[in-house]
Every structure is written in structure tokens, then in C-alpha cells.
Amino acid sequence: MPESPQRVAELVDAAVAAHPSVARAYRAVPTVAGRAAPSSVLAHVTLLPRRVAVSVGVAEVDDSRVVASEVARAVRDALPEDWGDAAVRVQVRRIEQPEVDAHG
């Protein structure tokens, strides 16, 4: 039975969170004018066409290109078999410092 977009998003979220170099995960679709339907998942998944988008924070000490590429690999690996031809986009939303300026 084919997986729902919601289920696919959950799989993707888990893969992203499990990646050791991901400092933080963000909602992939920016809220439109500050209002977005509440969602329990961060990844953005569409069915037609099949597209998966994630948004991450990378630690400043790491390399964005390397981490993003690794996350793309991890997302691909987490997708169900029939999602092999899905488009995958990994966005580096923020380059994070260790939490010193969390509430400046």
C-alpha cells in the first residue's frame, strides 16, 4: 500500500533528526504571512509531482555543502521504494553557533 505524504514526511523527519551533523531542523515551507496550518511534521512532501523538501541548521564548524549532501543521501535512503524518482531538496536555513546567543 502506498505511503501517504504525511507518513513519508514522518520518515524523512526521523532521518534528518537522526543525522549527527544536523544542528536543528526547520519547517521546510516558510509560513505564509506568519500563518500556516499547524503541522506535526517539518518536511514538506507533495504527491503530484513527488517532491520532498527539508530545511536544516548546520553547525558553523561543519561544512554546509558536505552536511547538506549527506542529509540528501539520508533522506533518499529513508524514502519508500516507490518514491525513488522523487525530487529531493535540502535547504540550509541557518548556520548555527553553539547556544550562546539563543536569547540575545
Binding site: A33, G34, D101, G104
Partner: protein, 184 residues
């Protein structure tokens, strides 16, 4: 040692906020909120909506920072955002009696030097006079004298011509000067 963001000038903070720096925006919010709330209170004719109006105006301003042309004048720009929101509130408010200004009887203090007492009384008199102005004259007054907008900016805000702004402002000044005659 590093320079503190809290003491940075408006222009630099606004420029950073335009680039997405929320900490810089936070400093601007803390710095100008007292003024913006005072401005909103006057603009709304003394209602208690001022806090909400300013809050929403600030969030809107954050989203529209791309439109800020002169970072050094961010305070006036924020006041414009507040005026826009306040105008919406005034328009959609159900028709009811204008709320009188809350009584501002502070606690009795020790006798003050005459000049200071006279100064406080003068601002209080001005406050009363402003509250009694026709709404359209009060509007241009506040936008010019408090928000420090140009005629063109006021005209854009009120959707009238600069010539109309000029005439209305002159009438407002004339009315205020006449009412404040004993303070001249």
C-alpha cells in the same frame, strides 16, 4: 571587548533588521515601544487598544522591512505602521461614544518648582487640546509633530494630496495655538 547592540544607532539596527537580524529588531522594539504606545494611544483617542495595535503593527513591520527606505528614520516608519493599524481599528470599530481620556491624576507629590509645575501643566493642557481637535486635524498633527513624517508621507498615509495635508495641518496649528493662547 565588543560593541553592544543595545547602544547602536537606529540606522545600523534598522539595516541589520532589514537583513533579517531579529536581535537588532528586538533592540528597536524595546527602544521605541514606549513612544509607539504613547503615539497609538493619542491616535486612537485614548483607548486601551493601543497595546494590541502596536503589537500587530510591529509584527507587520518586521514582515515589511524590505519597504524601509531610510534606515535612519526607522522610528517614523514604525509610527507609520502603527498609524496604519490604528486607522484600521478606528474604521472597523462599532459606532459608539468616543472613549474619554483616562483620568491621569497621579499621586500627590512634594511641591515642585514653579517652572516644572508650569511645564507639566502646559503639556497636560496640550494633551487636552489635542484630544478635543477634530479627528482629521489630530491625525495630521500627530503624524507631523509626533511621527515626524513629511507632507508627502502623510499624504500617502491618509490618501489625500500634500496640499490637503498642508491646509489641514495649518488649521490644526491655528486651533491649537488659539486654545493654548494663555501659554504663549
Amino acid at each position: 571587548m565588543s560593541v553592544q547592540l543595545e547602544t547602536a544607532p537606529d540606522a545600523l539596527l534598522a539595516q541589520r533588521a532589514k537583513d533579517g537580524d531579529e536581535r537588532a529588531f528586538a533592540v528597536l522594539v524595546r527602544r521605541h515601544s514606549p513612544f509607539l504606545i504613547a503615539f497609538a494611544t493619542r491616535y486612537l483617542g485614548g483607548s486601551s487598544d493601543a497595546d494590541d495595535v502596536v503589537q500587530e503593527a510591529l509584527v507587520t513591520a518586521w514582515r515589511q522591512l524590505d519597504e524601509l527606505r531610510e534606515p535612519a528614520r526607522v522610528r517614523s516608519w514604525l509610527a507609520t505602521s502603527v498609524a496604519r493599524r490604528a486607522t484600521d481599528v478606528l474604521r472597523t470599530r462599532a459606532r459608539r461614544d468616543v472613549q474619554p481620556l483616562p483620568d491621569e491624576e497621579g499621586p500627590a507629590t512634594s511641591p515642585q518648582p514653579d517652572a516644572v509645575a508650569e511645564g507639566r501643566a502646559a503639556t497636560r493642557a496640550l494633551g487636552d487640546v489635542l484630544a478635543a481637535l477634530p479627528a482629521d486635524q489630530r491625525e495630521v498633527w500627530l503624524l507631523r509633530e509626533m511621527a515626524e513624517l513629511s507632507y508627502d508621507e502623510i499624504a500617502a498615509r491618509l490618501e489625500v494630496s500634500p496640499a490637503t495635508v498642508r491646509g489641514r495641518l495649518a488649521r490644526a496649528r491655528g486651533a491649537v495655538l488659539a486654545a493654548m493662547a494663555e501659554w504663549r
